[in-house]
Symmetry: C2
Subunit: 310 residues, 2 copies
Amino acid sequence: VKQAEPQSGEDRIIAQFRALARHPGAFGLNDDAAALHPPAGCDLVLTADAVVAGVHFFADDPPEAVARKALRVNLSDLAAKGADPAGFLVSLALAASAGEPWVAGFARGLAEDAERYACPLLGGDTVKSPGPTMVSIAAFGFVPNDKMVRRAGARVGDAVVVTGTIGDAALGLRLRRDAKVAGPWMLDAAAREFLIGRYLVPQPRNAVAVAVRRHASAAMDVSDGLAGDLEKLCRASGIAAEIRLADVPLSDAARSAIVQDADLMEAALTGGDDYEILCTMAPGQVTSFRSATAAAGGPSRNSSTGSRSS
Amino acid sequence: VKQAEPQSGEDRIIAQFRALARHPGAFGLNDDAAALHPPAGCDLVLTADAVVAGVHFFADDPPEAVARKALRVNLSDLAAKGADPAGFLVSLALAASAGEPWVAGFARGLAEDAERYACPLLGGDTVKSPGPTMVSIAAFGFVPNDKMVRRAGARVGDAVVVTGTIGDAALGLRLRRDAKVAGPWMLDAAAREFLIGRYLVPQPRNAVAVAVRRHASAAMDVSDGLAGDLEKLCRASGIAAEIRLADVPLSDAARSAIVQDADLMEAALTGGDDYEILCTMAPGQVTSFRSATAAAGGPSRNSSTGSRSS
């Protein structure tokens, strides 16, 4: 089945990525593997997430945005685990429709985010897909030994905190699918753009990873919806939690839409793609966590602190 | 685009893999990330390779074999870099046709190889593919600091050595595509089965990784054909190499076929999927390397030592 790919085509694709690979352990993408020198006293945190055209993104999304989403969903996992990014590998299966301009845009988006989040490309693999384009990224981070923040660890009496607003991406996806829904939601152009942007390009909270590591008893990122993800965190911790709907932080745009159509609150809580960090901590830690996240430039004013696990 | 997957379906898939995840840092696949404690004085070696149905394997290959190939192509990279396996992450994009029995077979193949090569599953991701099944694996290994064997490093005067026979998989692929070619090749059933097996399930040379680390000036695994891969190694090292065709180690099956059809020699040298280690070393190292690989149970009698880089 495997065809020898024309050397020049594969070489041109790799050349697009070579500029990203400035980490000395990437060996300029001229080797079969990368090498990382782990700092003394640190554990390596490893995560992998794939995104598929037609499932996790639209085939006509800009390639820069596809690259960002693919990397950021992984960066979000590192942030939720309290880890500092160390690098990533990318496996890219390219649909026939994804030609050189697409690859160039993808490489550009990846390069910008690798720089922004200090998470260098270390290596990877490019293959042909007879179906849709798929991007699988494995990302790596460091934490002090045994300090990875687990899902297990929440204690009875802990507060439940999120690092930003919930439901924006779920509503943004509905707008992306059918722009007409925005009429009844009474949203202006800026609000529509905000929600669609929250779906298209996640904002991983790596700036607050250290604060999570120092304050949280348990954490995970919200990718499948706050309701289901909180249930997973509780199950791993062997506890239960109560959330007051009124305490769930909403953006102005999401609040406006929900005021017009109360059923959207369920979509906001279950829709996913929030990529905020959900964590639990002793109630006495919350003020300090807010200060730390504010100092780190991360969002904190919207943290929900009203709910207690029980 | 993203649909909330039924919790029970995704849970059942993850349950198939949970039995593999016995490494303490995999946290029983109950977390967002894995944690590895790097041994003191070691670098982490990282590699990723994807395989796609219809490109790198046949859609009707047994799922156990697909799992093995997906893991072993990565294990082969670790071996060629002189690294001891530490674990892997798997991203699995499942075609609609890949139901629970397929996933169960895949998990079984993966479990057996994870055990055989002491390379535990650390985590991963399972998504739906609207196209073919794709498997992307990122694998990790350890080497003493700065001891990863590079492609760059071959020196003028070095011998060129491979760890086993070349071209079997390329001929096996032709047989897998069209069983009738075996007639003119004058192969018996055992020879046909041997060649097809070399294509279907690579035999990564992890048993000789330490010997490669101790003896080789440069190394890579042969995945795209000996001719092209040697050219890549030479380019990275800034040298050139000469190979005498008569010195390229061939299996009895491949030799029989080539005797009948001399054009098959080109297929053997360019076809790829050999997953032997190609390395260079000072001529004085070759005997010691042969002994070390023989002691490690790896193939060594077929090593080609007649060629010199120049």
